[in-house]
């Protein structure tokens, strides 16, 4: 990623939660941030927050599971800013926090997980390649500790989060010669999804925080957003194929 002019990045699923935190952290550094999300009103609100934080916020409607929608979003970005320095795939299925045993997960729900996380990673990566090669930029996939250690009652989520790690590791090898870095970030953050998961399975809160040496959930902007910004930035120019755990030391597998 070039240091000058200010980087242009796109963050999927940035209308709330961790995606919003990453968008605001990038905005605080004066970056241009495209909020790629399905929810226009919420997305435009985050774009305004990016402006207020010191960056340039832009909203673009995007369903990461749809080829045409992803293509249109990247076309809009290219037409307006003409460059892309970093792409963050943060969006996950709305079913992510729903506790379910693997054997009892309906095919339709499995397909939704796969479409948003696995296909979304593919569609966004493929659509962004030319722009990222031009800027020698970075692709960042948001994974989870679940993708390392599994989850008894969130198996489909664990599966797709792990799939993103496998993709990133392979793609880093494939796209290194093009100057594109590919990494993953595994956050543990206070977010609407985490809140919902705690509501759906009250015992989860004790499990999540009981092993956390820092004793708290991460803040989406200061804890997670800053780490994501690092991986997108020139400071991480020699980091690729890596999964950075930003989880307060929770995960037992590194």
């Amino acid at each position: 990623m070039s240091a000058d002019p200010a980087p242009v990045v796109l963050v999927s699923g940035a209308s709330g939660g961790v995606g919003r935190g990453i968008a605001l952290a990038c905005g605080q550094a004066g970056w241009t941030v495209w909020i790629a999300a399905r929810r226009r009103e919420a997305g435009e609100a985050v774009a305004a927050e990016v402006d207020a934080a010191g960056g340039q916020g832009r909203y673009v409607e995007c369903d990461v599971a749809q080829h045409g929608s992803v293509r249109d979003a990247l076309d809009a970005l290219k037409a307006r800013d003409g460059r892309l320095d970093g792409l963050v795939h943060n969006a996950t299925s709305g079913l992510s926090p729903k506790p379910v045993r693997l054997a009892e997960t309906p095919l339709a729900e499995l397909r939704d997980h796969l479409a948003v996380s696995f296909r979304g990673s593919f569609l966004l990566a493929r659509a962004a390649h030319a722009l990222l090669a031009e800027s020698r930029g970075a692709l960042l996939l948001l994974t989870s500790e679940a993708g390392f250690e599994g989850k008894a009652l969130l198996s489909p989520y664990a599966g797709v989060k792990a799939a993103q790690r496998g993709m990133a590791r392979a793609l880093a090898r494939e796209w290194g010669p093009d100057g594109i870095r590919v990494n993953c970030l595994a956050p543990l953050a206070a977010s609407p999804a985490m809140t919902r998961a705690f509501e759906l399975e009250p015992a989860m809160a004790g499990r999540v925080l009981g092993r956390n040496p820092l004793g708290r959930l991460g803040d989406a902007v200061t804890d997670i957003g800053g780490a994501a910004r690092f991986l997108l930035s020139e400071d991480a120019r020699y980091v690729t194929g890596h999964t950075l755990m930003v989880d307060g030391g929770s995960c037992q597998v590194t």
Binding site: R101, R119, F122
Partner: protein
Amino acid sequence: MDPLLIGTPCEVVEDLSRALGASFAPIPSLADEAGFERWRAGAADEASHERVVVAAWSPQPAPAPLLELDDTHWQQRGEDPLLVWNAALGYAIGRCRDGGALVAVVEAPAALDSAGWVPEAGVAEAVAALTRSLALSEGPRGVRANTVTTPARLTTGAVVDPQPPLTNFPGKLEDEVVGAVRMLLSPEAAGITGCALAADCGRTW
């Protein structure tokens, strides 16, 4: 040992089943979705086994850069295989007896050789996490769940230097892979669960 192997009905998986001395239970085609759903729902009506192996393998793939994959390729190499793995592991754990052991055998490119294998690398990592999820959910009834990965069908040799420490890389299904599966199914592995073992002659660790 008499394990049950739940796998794709194809020559290589059936050979793996024979090499393990397993009974073979074919995974039905996803193309008949109603039939596939009936199969998923029927695990509890079938006999349970103390040792269960799962090998939901796709047709022989060839390496291809991500940029050469269209949406159909992605569906065929990434999404559909991972959907079937999810379903097959869910079915398999339903056929695994209390106190038993499950091993998923998945094709995985070694990280060093993974360029051109993005969908397969994703599926393999997912299978390890799904199996680890089963280790967590089924541990209280004494069931162990582990993964064995192999690049045996994906490569004939290391793509980049340095070369693997063992010269028999990438290993053979009937030798190195079957040996790893037998070990994980055996009582000698009674304390091992949630593990992903790379049977790839030292190419990965």
